[in-house]
């Protein structure tokens, strides 16, 4: 092979090499991106993002109204007392700092359920929009998790025993629908843990959930202003 032909061949290979290298780097960048989702997954994602954005828009509207009210009340601050009190009440209820009541569902569990299954159940309740949850009368807040072996589960030092109830405040229909759906947590537990019975019942009357006893203020952390 003559020298110029060799040079052409090497140039061609180097060119293809360069293209492949760029493709590879781009592929690495986009791994895990939305491009990877199927049409069905994208539809679910859109529904989730849509729901959340609606909630966020409502929150923005509330906050803007709050800000306007503060600015309108001027320097005295007296006009804000009612609004501040309402905000404080709502926030303490939401965070689990105060006892709360409202409609929802009762999940009755009997049998040697695993801690993972109970924590999955709590996650499904949150996904369905639960506003407050209690396990055997213990309010579930960040840090309060179910632990232990199936025969000896506990939460926040409270033994759960063989039979206990999970109470969740939220739309009873939405909560029951997500738990009882095909492939949902109830059917998964029925398949994976046949010795466990799990029944979801919408509450006839308002459920009352206690405040947490856990100190939710981080000890070693400082607010970043």
């Amino acid at each position: 092979m003559k020298q110029p032909r060799a040079l052409t061949a090497v140039t061609l290979v180097a060119f293809v090499l360069g293209i492949l290298l760029v493709m590879q780097l781009r592929a690495q960048d986009s791994v895990g991106g939305m491009e990877q989702l199927s049409a069905a997954d994208l539809t679910v994602l859109i529904a989730n993002l849509n729901d959340r954005n609606n909630l966020l828009r409502a929150e923005v509207a509330d906050l803007e109204a709050d800000l306007r009210a503060i600015e309108a009340s001027g320097a005295s601050g007296q006009g804000n007392v009612g609004r501040l009190q309402a905000d404080l009440t709502r926030l303490r209820l939401w965070a689990g700092l105060d006892a709360i009541e409202g409609r929802g569902v009762v999940v009755a569990i009997v049998g040697p359920i695993t801690a993972d299954a109970v924590n999955d159940l709590l996650d499904e309740l949150r996904l369905a929009g639960a506003e407050a949850i209690a396990v055997a009368g213990v309010r579930v807040v960040p840090g309060a998790t179910v632990a232990g072996t199936p025969a000896a589960l506990s939460i926040e030092g409270v033994d759960l025993g063989r039979a206990f109830e999970v109470h969740a405040i939220g739309s009873p229909q939405a909560l029951q629908a997500i738990l009882d759906r095909s492939g949902g947590i109830v059917s998964r537990i029925a398949v994976g843990q046949p010795d466990v019975s799990l029944e979801v019942v919408p509450s006839e009357t308002a459920l009352r959930l206690p405040a947490t006893e856990r100190d939710l203020t981080p000890d070693g952390a400082t607010p970043r202003l």
């Binding site: 804000n80 700092l97 506003e131 840090g143």
Partner: protein, 270 residues
Amino acid sequence: MGQPVVSAVTGRLRRVPGWQWTFAVALLALGFLIAVQLGAEGPRVRYSSSERPPLLETARELDAAQAALQERILSLRDQIAAAEVASAGNDQAVTDLNEGLAAARLAAGLVEIEGPGIVVRIDDSGLPVPPGEAAADYLVSASDLRDLVVELWQAGAEAMSVNGERVVETTALTDIGSSILVNSAYLQPPYDLSVIGPEGLYDRLTTSPGFIDLVRTRVQDYGLELGFLPSDAVVVPAFAGAVSLTQGRPEATPVPAASGAPAAPGQPAP
């Protein structure tokens, strides 16, 4: 006997022109890159259909809108907190309420905080998926993240976020295809859990049976990547979501909290 053969081969190799060596190396690199390119199609599958482009565009728009709304919420909360302090004046009742609100916001996770702790990173497996095995097993799932979050709480974590999403009372983790939603925010791997907690958090986490089981079944068996970075200044961002109640309200008569007593289900209100 072997000496003449070796000499013949060496002599022949010496006669190969330099450009042929260059060509051979380039072809080798080409083959390697083609193999890598094909391998990259492994766990995460690309989909193509005519209905996807508009869905993809909508999802991207909603995701961008969500980021903007979150930013607006955080900005408004900051403005409100500042305006409340400024408007309190000499009114003791207002001052007390403002102090109560500041404490409640901190406890509820609505304030960005900084403190000692660890950053835990978990990422999809880099291993090729063997034929016949489920590609999803080689990806981080919501269940993996949930297990890690639970183990971190049990090890004493005081505050936590996943890729910037604060874990609060209402936080749910759920799978969407090969990605995960946290607080309904769309997250992609790698997942960084920023955790603030007391000294010994790392030791308690890594010696817990649940965590050891997670490492054995997901990291060792499927090659998920797990790493830790201890730090004296871990930043956990504020929750940028809605703090709303539609069913919940203050109870009419206070109920005492459970205090180590045997399991007692919540009681129906009168």
